[in-house]
């Protein structure tokens, strides 16, 4: 029960890593739960996330083998 977690932009620099493997608790978790598990705290304000490269919210479920990404608000264009 593992997932690959990606970080982008300011978040990637502040955490000092662009990705990591995470062990899921039995029964799975959510995007917000996984953050809490990895960073021992509530997600920062305005955190954005994706599961399997689709936009996700803090309550989006995370399952075995998923690709989860956390990033700050986007600023392209």
């Amino acid at each position: 029960m593992t997932v690959r977690v990606h970080y982008f932009a300011r978040l990637r620099e502040e955490l000092g890593r662009s990705s990591e493997e995470a062990e899921l608790p039995a029964g799975g978790t959510t995007v917000g739960g996984l953050w809490q598990q990895l960073h021992q705290g509530t997600p920062p304000e305005r955190l954005m996330a994706a599961v399997n490269q689709e936009q996700a919210g803090l309550d989006t479920p995370v399952s075995d083998g998923d690709e989860v990404a956390y990033f700050p608000p986007v600023t392209g264009g």
């Binding site: 982008f8 300011r10 490269q53 689709e54 986007v74 600023t75 264009g77």
Partner: protein
């Protein structure tokens, strides 16, 4: 309908001219194009460099989704979106949105919609380098409306 990520400087007008070849000449009607370039000023400080990060895979999917949703809302004959990533220099093109329709209002409104949604939904992040060498992540886009 195509989306492209460029890691090097691209020529937006040559790209539009090429993309237009795919639209049947008898149907072209109207083309609406937006090109955004890197300026060397922002918030009154001197920006000497710009780095654009993206999420390979998701970025292309998001752009394709935005273009497909515009295609469902307006009668488009074609659409081409290009976005630059990596280290950018002043004057380089950052983004191109080109839309073709039989009617000018559809081309114009779809082009504007795709640009605004790209800015607020597609995973790109800008980091500026200032004249004193410090770097800062751009916190948010300017409003479009």
């Amino acid at each position: 309908m195509a989306v492209e990520i460029y890691h090097e400087d691209f020529d937006p007008w040559a790209l539009v001219a090429r993309a237009e070849q795919a639209i049947p000449a008898h149907a072209r009607g109207a083309a609406s194009v937006f090109v955004g370039r890197m300026r060397d000023f922002n918030e009154n400080e001197d920006v000497t460099g710009l780095f654009l990060e993206h999420y390979p895979g998701m970025t292309e999917r998001e752009l394709e989704r935005i273009v497909a949703e515009a295609g469902a809302r307006w009668p488009l004959l074609g659409c081409h979106v290009a976005h630059r990533v990596g280290d950018v220099r002043p004057g380089d093109a950052l983004v191109l949105v080109a839309t073709w329709s039989a009617h000018r209002v559809a081309a114009r409104d779809a082009c504007s919609d795709i640009l605004e949604r790209l800015k607020h939904e597609a995973p790109f992040w800008k980091r500026e380098t200032l004249t004193d060498g410090t770097r800062r992540w751009v916190e948010k886009n300017t409003p479009g409306f």
